[in-house]
């Protein structure tokens, strides 16, 4: 089973075409294993991306180096998945 320990979902809201391009360039880097929950649409629209732990540092550094601000939507994906599983098991027991 795939686990998501340390994976974070970041929310990026590009404010310009240049910033949008920075995000779109990252989209093509397969080795980062990025999972776009909300795809890049245009300046002003949020982009949500699940970033695996091994890619997190370099991904954030790249955004910061290009002046692209971001926020953390989900601190640890695995924690939410575990929550969900616990709920599922509890309701099944009931």
């Amino acid at each position: 089973t795939e686990t998501f320990v340390g994976h974070q979902v970041l929310r990026i809201t590009p404010t310009s075409d240049e910033e949008l391009q920075v995000v779109q360039e990252l989209q093509d880097l397969e080795e980062l294993q990025l999972d776009f929950w909300l795809e890049p649409r245009g300046p002003g629209y949020p982009v949500d991306v699940r970033v695996p732990f091994p890619s997190l540092q370099s991904f954030k550094a790249h955004l910061e180096a290009n002046g692209v601000s971001y926020s953390i939507m989900i601190e640890d994906v695995q924690a939410l998945v575990d929550n969900e599983q616990t709920e599922l098991l509890r309701s099944r027991r009931q």
């Binding site: 795939e2 999972d35 909300l38 949500d48 939507m73």
Partner: protein, 309 residues
């Protein structure tokens, strides 16, 4: 549970539990609900559609599907809730009763069962089908890029490892082909609603081109009514518009194909939320999400009933 009255609608369920729910619902309501198998998935799971009908043959119909992207769990859970709602309200809700007096409703709750089973066992974040791609180690096709509408154009990926991979050819996915064949053989579907999550949007064609559909004005008006009804319950804020202008270019999408088949009232929903939990929406939000969405669905179905073509 011995009956659909004791079924827990406020939690997520496994594929088997949802299939058992369907059988219970049919057994409890033989004069209203039947189960149709429209095909088999890549891994040979049955593709079940619930039919809600008061009789007649080949009557005008509404199609609703959920779960085409398997990780969007709130959609399958909402589909289960819709099924029960139709049964509970089919006589005492005047609007719904009048819809069923004239039309049938088809509801496919688990449109991508292989992907859904995979999210329950191997990878909660799985979105695509589970078909194998010759020449690639990557698995699966995005079933919302595999339809024969602008297929393979910008707004989908030709890379089998991409989440938006369009597949080797249009309708390559049996989960898509089964719906295509059903829609063509039925021939009298008047509204087609495909339900996704998240980002709280109500979308209509086109996605593959910026060109507005001929019925754009009418679809926009219907969307406004439907979103107003949805928001009236809990104030959930939706945006609406064409796929291309509201989100991005997406080729090979479901409702572009259904619209081009002549099904004028073709819509896609993107349910809760706007970006706190995303695909991991807590189970306690299932019922409120389904309740508010139902108001929008009823608005679209009532409009269709009054504007049959």
């Amino acid at each position: 549970p011995l009956s659909t009255n004791t079924f827990d609608y406020a939690t997520y369920h496994t594929l088997d539990e949802i299939y058992s729910f369907m059988d219970l619902l049919v057994a409890e309501n033989p004069n209203l609900v039947s189960k149709v198998e429209i095909g088999r998935s890549t891994e040979n799971r049955p593709l079940y559609v619930l039919k809600f009908s008061k009789g007649g043959t080949n009557r005008p119909a509404v199609w609703i599907d959920t779960g085409i992207h398997s990780r969007e769990w709130v959609t399958q859970a909402s589909g289960v809730w819709f099924a029960k709602k139709i049964v509970v309200d089919h006589e005492n809700d005047e609007g719904l009763a009048s819809i069923l007096d004239q039309m049938d409703i088809f509801l496919e709750i688990v449109t991508n069962p292989d992907g859904f089973a995979f999210t329950q066992t191997q990878n909660r974040m799985w979105r695509k089908t589970r078909s194998k791609q010759s020449g690639s180690v990557c698995i699966g096709v995005d079933p919302n890029r595999n339809w024969d509408a602008g297929f393979g154009g910008p707004g989908a990926s030709r890379n089998p490892c991409s989440e938006t991979y369009h597949g080797p050819y249009a309708n390559s996915e049996p989960e898509v082909k089964a719906i295509v064949d059903f829609v063509k053989s039925h021939g009298n579907i008047k509204a087609f609603i495909s339900i996704h999550s998240y980002s709280q949007l109500l979308l209509y064609p086109y996605g593959y081109t910026r060109t507005p559909v001929p019925d754009q004005k009418e679809l926009h008006q219907i969307s406004e009514k439907a979103v107003t009804a949805l928001s009236s319950l809990y104030g959930t804020n939706y945006k609406y518009g064409s796929i291309f202008t509201t989100i991005y270019q997406a080729s090979g999408s479901t409702v572009d194909w259904t619209y081009n088949q002549g099904i004028k009232y073709s819509f896609t929903f993107e349910l809760r939320d706007t970006g706190r939990y995303g695909f991991l929406l807590p189970a306690k939000q299932i019922v409120p999400t389904a309740q508010e969405t139902w108001l929008a669905l009823k608005t679209i179905m009532l409009y269709t009933r009054d504007h049959l073509y």
